[in-house]
């Protein structure tokens, strides 16, 4: 009876033009450049003009050893950081939701690095990781261990930065897991206790499957972050020694600085493809296999 009139009125209270201001900013500065990048990645582009050269930039990208290294490093970095974050954050979250002394303090201390400047963290750890005289290797020497050369050794530079990334980001992953664990109804744990399930069984068969949404969130967020990561790597190694710790994002910056705008933009397109090819199927697959209650 009042249906049509009500719908009409509802339309005017929730006008589509409320989208407009956001759409203008977002469209001009995010969507247009994103679409334009597909075209410009196919050009030789300088300050003055651009010339269509087909897939040449992508050929360079997959042939030049320095650029190929950037591609593989990006994958290694993303997988290592997100893997370590899951492996460390889950036990931490279990610990921080149990009845232990100093719980509030521990939560704050683990979380605080998330809020701190990445550049500040990068500079601090560059100093701490100095092979000779740096605090980490000094401490290892006291324990009788000869520490690696961290950032100055081509074989460990990327992984050293990845460790610092985990140090800075594990707090966020832990928080997400804590939120996931807290939302599990306590009846499940009580039922398990009544059935005589031990700590490990409870963890394996109740906590782990029921905080799966949290795992999905942690994996996807840290994969996206890891694949796009730039500032920490740039502060700590500038992609060095040589180009051994370059990632796609640092290649994009280097090519931009060198004035190869087409190649830099091709890097952006490659990064776009890598992120979507990995994240979309993964979030679809992980999201589908929900736990049936």
């Amino acid at each position: 009876m009042a249906g049509p009139r009500r719908r009409h009125r509802a339309g005017s209270v929730y006008p589509h033009w409320f989208y407009l201001p956001a759409a203008v900013v977002y469209g001009t500065l995010f969507l247009v450049p994103t679409f334009a990048s597909f075209y410009f990645s196919l050009t030789r582009w300088t300050l003055f003009d651009h010339e269509f050269i087909g897939l040449e930039n992508f050929v360079v990208f997959f042939q030049e050893p320095a650029l190929v290294k950037g591609l593989t490093n990006t994958l290694v970095y993303a997988v290592v950081t997100s893997g370590l974050k899951v492996v460390l954050a889950l036990p931490l979250a279990v610990l921080l939701t149990s009845d232990i002394v100093g719980r509030a303090y521990l939560r704050s201390v683990v979380f605080f690095p998330v809020l701190v400047s990445t550049i500040g963290v990068g500079i601090t750890f560059t100093v701490l990781m100095q092979p000779n005289g740096g605090l980490i290797n000094d401490a290892l020497a006291v324990l009788g261990v000869r520490g690696p050369a961290w950032l100055t050794d081509p074989s460990s530079a990327l992984l050293s930065v990845a460790l610092v990334d985990v140090w800075k980001g594990v707090g966020l992953a832990t928080l997400i897991y804590i939120a996931g664990i807290v939302s599990i109804p306590s009846e499940y744990f009580e039922a398990a206790r009544v059935d005589g399930a031990g700590r490990f069984t409870t963890f394996r068969h109740i906590l782990l499957p029921l905080c799966r949404p949290a795992t999905v969130t942690v994996v996807i967020l840290s994969l996206i972050g890891g694949l796009r990561s730039f500032d920490l790597i740039w502060t700590m190694t500038r992609g060095g020694p040589g180009f051994t710790s370059d990632v796609i994002a640092s290649v994009i910056y280097k090519q931009y600085q060198a004035g190869f705008f087409g190649l830099s933009t091709a890097g952006n397109v490659v990064l776009f493809l890598v992120v979507t090819v990995i994240v979309l199927p993964l979030s679809w697959a992980l999201g589908r296999k929900r736990v049936e209650l």
Binding site: H16, Y19, T28, F30, P33, F40, V116, S117
Partner: protein, 268 residues
């Protein structure tokens, strides 16, 4: 027992690096170059502070002013625009909802294309301007805020809007006088989280606002890294000063930040 071990381990892993920053910021130049974890022989913080602040014609002060302008302006605009989008998106499901959802989500996933963005900014005359960078931060931060607001609006009953409409309110009044005030708590969350994000942002100022005149605090730190390569006391004084704003945000609004960062995480 377990608690004791955890406290000890957390102190070694998480507190020692921060203590190192503070101790080094208090040392004189010679001792700071030793790079060890030791008590300062002389407390030189006042001198280090003056040296860092006055370096390169007070660059750090200018940088703090620039960062403040950037953070306040971009977060204010971002939050209002995102709230308007979330309001219509949540209240008026229809053909457009799925499209808008998709576009919003892609903003969280897709890495921005750098050089084309610079080209667009140049075309608008906004490259190397503070206004340009503010709009960039707005564009890149919108998606997070829209999702946060939309989830929250689902819990605000529609009847409130309807009763305002019956009282003769138009969309502007319904939104700004009825709905937006109800969103206060989640808006505070968005403001705090995005302030920390924008303040700590390094990449976007590096690309879109290069040059000494408009430098932000993260960029001064980056520049000081090469300039003060051997003056670790000054480098770490700079880090210490730059860490103060996030520390304040953490002390004042930790709960809000946590709420914002974990929202939606458990629903999957």
């Amino acid at each position: 027992m377990l608690g004791g071990v955890a406290i000890l381990a957390s102190a070694v892993v998480f507190l020692v690096p921060f203590a190192f920053v503070v101790l080094t910021a208090f040392k004189d130049r010679a001792q700071s170059a030793e790079l060890d974890f030791s008590w300062p022989r002389q407390f030189r913080f006042a001198q280090n502070f003056v040296d860092v602040v006055t370096a390169r014609d007070y660059t750090l002060i200018i940088a703090f002013v620039n960062s403040a302008i950037l953070t306040v302006a971009s977060v204010a605009v971002m939050v209002v625009l995102a709230a308007m989008v979330a309001f219509v998106l949540q209240r008026r499901p229809g053909r457009w909802t799925k499209v808008v959802d998709f576009v919003v989500l892609s903003g969280l996933i897709i890495p921005p294309a750098v050089v084309p963005t610079i080209r667009v900014l140049q075309g608008l005359g906004l490259f190397r301007t503070m206004t340009g960078l503010i709009l960039i931060e707005v564009a890149f931060g919108l998606s997070f805020c829209v999702l946060l607001f939309r989830n929250f609006l689902a819990t605000v009953p529609r009847e409130l809007d309807d009763s305002a409409v019956i009282d003769g309110a138009g969309p502007f009044r319904v939104f700004f006088l009825v709905v937006f005030p109800l969103m206060r708590s989640v808006a505070v969350t968005a403001v705090v989280v995005q302030s920390v994000v924008v303040y700590n942002d390094f990449t976007n100022p590096l690309y879109f606002l290069p040059g000494d005149k408009n430098v932000t605090v993260q960029l001064t730190l980056y520049n000081f890294q090469s300039q003060y390569g051997t003056q670790y006391n000054l480098l770490f004084t700079n880090i210490l000063l730059i860490t103060i704003p996030p520390l304040l945000a953490f002390l004042v609004a930790n709960r809000r930040i946590v709420a914002g960062l974990t929202a939606g995480a458990v629903k999957g």
